[in-house]
Amino acid sequence: MSAADTLADRFDRFEDTPRWLLDVGLIAATMGSIYLLFTIFTFVGPAGGTFGTVVANLQTITFWTALYAMMVLALNLHWGYTGLFNIGVAGFMAIGVYAFAVLTVPPTGSPPGLGLPLWVGIIGGMLAAALVGAVTALPALRLRADYLAIVTVALSEIIRLTLLSTKFESFTLFANLDYEVRGVEILPDVALGTGAGRGMNIPVNPSIPVKSIFYTNPSNPAAGERTAVGEVVLGAFVNAGVRETVVVSLAYTLLLIGVVALFYWLLVRVGNSPFGRVLKAIREDELVANSLGKDTRMFKIKVFMLGCALMGLGGILWEAQRGFTDPTSTTFRPIQTFYIFVALIIGGAGSNTGSVLGGALFASLLFQGPLFVSRILSHLLNLGDTPSSFAAAIGPVFALEVGPLLAYAAGNIEELRFVLLGVVLVYLMQNRPQGLLGHRKEVAASVPLIDRDGNRPRDAAAADGGEGDE
């Protein structure tokens, strides 16, 4: 019996507690444990443990947790709920980010954009990702599931390489169409661009509204002054030893947590409905769903577009907030899709709470954890310089000297992380393929179908009253 099974048994004791409260408790307990671990890491780490360093490190962990939770939730809608094997997540993120950038970058920028407001960019980015999703999905969804996988992974690479192409570095729309009506050109030339390999500056981005809470000149805090709120909040934190940039990032992380909560709410609602029931049926056996009169193609297209829109939004909040993007960013590489899948598998495909947990565990223990551990090892063991080659690291082992090998491992931790990921995946596949919460019965209905004793819910009004949904 694995740890997670015993955990599930423990939960049976709380059967009178509403489900959502349990889920919130589970996420809070997980995050609490992760925070405790990283607080300890901070204290034993090279920078030492002060309020400032603890807040900075926990901020980093929460930031990555929120980003991954967001993406895993979106993927859970595709893969966990509907069984659509989308392995082009990074591509849809890229579409969202670039559509956002092209819409919001001012016409004077280099490359130039349309200079539209932030919210237009966000909606446009989501729509663009959804449309590209629909175009991809339309032919592939008619075929077997594997074809969707092939099409999506190919698409994500096509998108990345297209963005790298100098053909689109900067170009002018309607340059050859000079129709005039009464002296006014009806299709004025529009200069656009993706910047290709040079990348794109994104001055109007989701971090700006957050920064504007603290600074009068959010695009360039140094040039302006602090606002009244900024004066109070930043002042207090800085006095407590937290760096100013950490506080601003913390505020942005809070925004991300809000978006995760929104995704969660949306997906729970989608899942707990007749719509979600059809999605589950498609995952289980599409022919049965068809035979029961469900036009599964429409459902698949809708859900694919919705998931892609969420991935586009996730991409914008992930990548565009940096103020700069380029196609070589790791955010857009296929490995990103793999990371998100690993996180979903850890948490349990098909469970939204599991998705958040998977995002948290992946981001903290697998993604950031090894970096922390490596720094701590180098610091505590005084490992010194990283040997330049594996031979130089392994040689001294025969003289019973493991220091250079450890230093080599610590110095190459980013690569070793892949090995760790592989080991975790193999372990999970063999011992808990359904993930932490994958086999939980998350019933797809908007009302409880069964009462706590396994009987027909007799008093409908009373049974539903406790849900507090509407």
Binding site: L266, R269, V270, S273, P274, F275, G276, R277, V278, K280, A281, R283, E284, D285, L287, V288, A289, N290, S291, L292, G293, K294, D295, T296, F299, K302, L306, G350, H439, K441, V443, A444, A445, S446, V447, L449, I450, G454, R456, P457, A460, D464, D469, E470
Partner: protein, 303 residues
Amino acid sequence: MGVRAMSDTSPAGEGGEPATTGEDRPTEATGDGTAETTAGEAGESPGPSELVVEDLVKRFGGVTAVDGATFEVEEGSLTGLIGPNGAGKSTTFNCITGVHEPDGGSVTFRGEEITGLRTARIANRGLVRTFQIARELEEMTVLENLMLSPQGQVGETLSHAVLPGLRGRVRDQERDLREEVWETLELFEIDHLAGEHAGNLSGGQRKLLELARALMTDPDLLLLDEPFAGVNPTLEEKLLDRIHGLRESENLTFLLVEHDMDLIMDNCEHVIVMHQGSVLAEGPPEAIRNNERVIDAYLGDEL
């Protein structure tokens, strides 16, 4: 049986006139015999054909699985479709229900041609099938399996599922559906399994669930592919009672593939024998039992 109540929200065309749906359907035919009552309802002595299959052809590579099959199924009847393995019975089912597109011929359901329509559209019209090997939605509970069936659920649109203002209607409808689903579960005596994942059910229980799920769609014609394989005799008896009951109360039509000859002979009023992709013989059970060609091809001498 309240299973019908859903159909008045069905999008399948008959929208404005609730006369054909819901509780308005004549259900008085309970007391006296079956055949006369159903014929009486239809207004003619030989019931009109619910399903007409004409010259149906389906090839898989070099194999012609169905080779010009032609037969009719009368409204309100319980028709048996028998034949040796590989005779094309299941392929015929697949062609009728749109799982396979036939290479030739036509299928007409209630006077409208449905050849080549998508499976879901055919099911929307009231022609629903079960599978030879029960196909359960394993990671869904028994309740979810049944809740899936009713046609025209408002909550199946994304906007109704998500938007706060519209979700109230979804919940109201789901409460009503929940009642029907529990009634059906009790009827099939699998209510003690309501919260189980369908994947945990035994073979026989799966067959029951599959039949219950098909009935929850509120069909007019049910194609049952070996519904009693693996079901114990008492339960089989009960299911047959249920089938006959539905024919009386809702004028449901059944087309049944089955290998148990006694069952076919005792329950069907019309039997179609398929052999090598086409119809070898058809007629009342007694005639089939004594048909030389049928005995040679399928029944053998022991009957």
